[in-house]
């Protein structure tokens, strides 16, 4: 049991770490496209790790299946939303960010 607890703690903390990295990305990245990149990948991986961490402590099979269903819905929804926002930004003519010489983010 102690091993399962340890694994659950590691998964949960790794998930929170990915959430923090994703938020850092959305704060620091320079334009819409890079922010979509930070948001839709890092956060869903963090959510998946948290879901797997909670799966180890789930009390029954339906609860575990519901957790997986929530993660699947979040994956599909976030991928669709990221694609739509990036396409709308491109149609509006938002220029992708380019590194200028000597310029930081």
């Amino acid at each position: 049991m102690i091993l399962i607890d340890l694994l659950q703690g590691m998964l949960l903390l790794a998930g929170v770490g990915f959430f923090l990295v994703g938020t850092l990305g959305i704060l620091r990245f320079p334009d819409v496209y890079t922010r979509v990149h930070a948001l839709t990948k890092a956060d869903n991986l963090g959510l998946g790790l948290i879901v797997f961490g909670l799966l180890l402590g789930a009390e029954s099979v339906p609860v575990a299946l519901k957790l997986l269903l929530i993660w699947g819905l979040a994956l599909i929804a976030s991928a669709t939303a990221g694609y739509l926002v990036a396409r709308a930004a491109r149609r509006r003519g938002v220029k992708p960010w380019k590194a200028r010489s000597g310029g930081g983010a």
């Binding site: 607890d5 659950q8 703690g9 949960l12 903390l13 998930g15 929170v16 959430f19 923090l20 994703g22 938020t23 850092l24 959305i26 704060l27 334009d31 819409v32 922010r35 979509v36 948001l39 956060d43 869903n44 963090g46 959510l47 948290i50 879901v51 909670l54 402590g57 609860v63 519901k66 957790l67 269903l69 929530i70 819905l73 979040a74 929804a77 976030s78 669709t80 939303a81 739509l84 926002v85 396409r87 709308a88 930004a89 149609r91 509006r92 003519g93 938002v94 220029k95």
Partner: protein, 94 residues
Amino acid sequence: MNWLLELVAVLLLVTLVLGLIRIWRGPTVADRMLAAQLFGTTGVGLLLVLAELQRMPALRDVALVLALLAVMAVLAFVARVWRQDPNNNHEGPS
């Protein structure tokens, strides 16, 4: 294990508060909308952790609905708000 779940919940809340900075500063409306989507994903994780922590299984249903509503908000934003003529942009260049 409860202290660990509480720590995870608090850290997720810190992430939400940090996301508020992007909504405050975001140069375009799309950046603010992306931060709102961040709230959706982080909120789902937070609700799942709280459902386990407080033994409230109903919070998982709330998380499911929140995941659906967050993407609906982004969809409505892309389809209705942000689809305007780029020549008379209202928020200025990004």
